[in-house]
């Protein structure tokens, strides 16, 4: 699976000119996360655990072989086997580069700020734990969804209309009812509690609605006091 810079995207980035660079010092991991966010070719496609592993294998070459659990829910667990950097001369800069790249890919795919902890094992395996990034105080972060103002819902037949573009999309009743519930509820847990769908299904439908542009989201602590 070859890594390619999409030419159209390159042109877009360049036409934007030298947007203000991130002010101040940017740690190595963050730089690589940014780099992958800018050039990640799967930006608009669904990514599963196997293709993510394959993509990272191709990006890093023979550094390590990646394997991930299901990407459907956070936290995600992954492992890098036979890591060439996982020796007695392990270099933190290479770990930070690697983790930054993984974070950039997943943040682009999931649309969620992440933090990745890594745990090198004596057998040269390195275990990755990928979770939603908490606030500086360590408060858990919750994603809150909001239906966009331009979206109109129609019941018969179940249809979503984007009034900006005029696009009409037929949807299932469960998707329609979920979008309707966003009038009163914002988190996946709240929606699941007030809908007959389980949490995983709600999360999947929210991802779909996000990709379609019908909802947006932000991240707050459980106390709704700050955004990370």
């Amino acid at each position: 699976m070859a890594l390619e810079l999409p030419r159209g995207t390159e042109r877009d980035l360049r036409k934007e000119g030298p947007l203000s660079p991130h002010p101040g010092f940017v740690p190595l991991q963050e730089f690589w996360a940014d780099y992958l966010r800018a050039f990640f070719v799967y930006r608009h496609q669904t990514l599963d655990a196997a293709s993510l592993a394959s993509y990272l294998d191709s990006f890093f070459g023979a550094l390590t072989a990646h394997r991930f659990d299901d990407l459907g829910a956070l936290p995600i667990r992954g492992v890098g086997t036979e890591c060439r950097n996982n020796t007695h001369e392990r270099r933190p800069s290479i770990c930070e580069t690697h983790v930054g790249a993984v974070r950039g890919v997943l943040e682009t795919h999931l649309g969620v700020p992440l933090e990745i902890s890594y745990d090198p094992q004596p057998c040269r395996e390195c275990r990755l734990h990928i979770a939603v990034r908490g606030t500086a105080k360590g408060d858990p972060v919750v994603a809150r969804a909001r239906r966009r103002d331009r979206v109109r819902l129609y019941d018969t037949p179940p249809t979503v209309v984007d009034t900006d573009t005029g696009r009409r999309t037929s949807v299932t009743r469960e998707t329609l009812s979920l979008l309707g519930l966003l009038d009163d509820f914002t988190t996946a847990r709240e929606l699941s509690a007030n809908h007959r769908l389980d949490l995983r299904r709600v999360a999947s439908l929210l991802d779909y609605c996000l990709r379609e542009g019908w909802i947006d989201h932000d991240f707050t602590t459980t106390s709704k006091s700050s955004v990370p």
């Binding site: 360049r14 660079p21 002010p23 010092f25 740690p27 191709s58 990006f59």
Partner: protein, 367 residues
């Protein structure tokens, strides 16, 4: 370098940490003009923007209050925030006096040539790090293996020739030459990659590893029949010092093959007509191109050809690869008609041969 928490008072005297190496980046949109920073231990630490770079350059024992004048208003972070982050990252330390900091950026007069201790240090640090993070088959270090088809027509034929693959990397091209019956000295600065280059059992005895800096090859003058260096000259500190070595070790009538990345016709037009910012792979210290100043890191390919000629290597072929890639209308139709009228000579005809995504240069030692 560990993070240090240090309260930066206005009167604190600050100096740059000795031995920092900073590489200027051209990665749009957020890192165009920023610097990748290596610590004195050779490990990359992170990236700073141009404002921070001004602060680091000015930190010669000045007080924090004094350094704050280097930070313009509206620069995203306050001077105090910037200084605090730089201290925490270990790039500024308490102290007085000016220390040695190496800047790797295009210079007036020196262009993309980097000479001196700083350049050598940077190349060692960077490729040691990069080679540790990105391994065989990673596109960041391995050139497209399909490129062999553009190079193999220039490989020596007939009797066994002593060949040098300068910057052999994974050994892909060295193996291709050795499989034709030639003895190949596979040279690289990175010991691990040299090991990989020798992996094929059946070529044992045909490929000889050599760990060396290309600016100082431990080979006798006039001792090599064929020198090739594929997608290497964009990585070395001083490409002209390297090419001088190639000319030196070539025997009379020996041949030279170079492959380099080039600023393409599309990139050149977009830069000059559309104001588009060319980007540069940050592991490249230069790209080659027909029109000077298309990019801060653009090394004029005519200078390369002139240099080779001055050093006794007659350039026989310059071939552009991927000349029409990415062209948009009306250029695509216009250039396609030129290509059709010149085919098959299009890729080797001036000026098109210097406007491909890559350039292949073939020459012969004549004096």
């Amino acid at each position: 370098m560990g993070a240090r928490a240090l309260a930066v008072d206005d009167g604190t005297l600050l100096t740059a940490r000795a031995g920092l190496v900073l590489l200027k980046l051209f990665i749009p949109p957020h890192y165009y003009g920023s610097y990748l920073v290596f610590g004195p231990d050779g490990e990359p630490v992170g990236v700073i923007d141009e404002v921070d770079a001004r602060v680091v350059a000015a930190a010669d024992g000045r007080s924090a209050d004094d350094l704050a004048v280097e930070v313009p208003a509206g620069a995203g972070l306050s001077a105090k925030q910037r200084l605090g982050k730089l201290v925490e990252a270990g790039l500024l330390v308490p102290g007085s006096g000016r220390v040695q900091v190496h800047w790797i950026s295009p210079g007036e007069g020196t262009g993309t040539r980097h000479v001196g201790a700083g350049a050598k240090t940077f190349v060692r640090y960077f490729y040691d790090y990069f080679g540790g993070a990105f391994h065989e088959t990673s596109p960041l270090i391995d050139s497209d293996r399909d490129f062999l088809g553009h190079l193999s027509p220039f490989f020596p034929e007939g009797e066994e020739v002593l060949c040098l693959d300068a910057g052999c990397g994974s050994g892909h091209y060295a193996r291709a030459v050795a499989q034709r019956g030639h003895h190949v000295i596979a040279c690289d600065i990175n010991l691990e990659r040299l090991g990989n280059a020798l992996a094929l059992q059946e070529l044992r005895g045909k490929i000889q590893p050599l760990q060396s800096d290309l600016e100082r090859l431990p080979l006798a003058s006039g001792s090599v029949g064929f020198v090739m260096s594929n997608f290497v000259l964009e990585h070395v500190a001083d490409p002209y010092a390297v090419m001088a070595e190639f000319a030196r070790v070539l025997e009379p009538d020996g041949t030279l093959l170079l492959a380099v990345p080039n600023l393409s016709l599309r990139d050149t037009l977009a830069s000059w007509l559309d104001g588009e910012l060319p980007s540069l792979n940050f592991e490249h210290l230069r790209s080659f191109g027909l029109i000077p100043h298309t990019h801060p890191w653009c090394e004029p390919i005519l200078d390369v050809l002139r240099f080779l000629d001055e050093h006794g290597v007659r350039v026989e072929v310059v071939q552009g690869v991927g000349i029409t890639t990415g062209l948009w209308e009306p250029w695509a139709s216009a250039i396609s008609s030129v290509e059709a009228s010149l085919a098959p000579r299009f890729s080797t005809t001036w000026p098109w041969n210097c406007l491909g995504e890559q350039s292949v240069i073939f020459g012969r030692k004549v004096r």
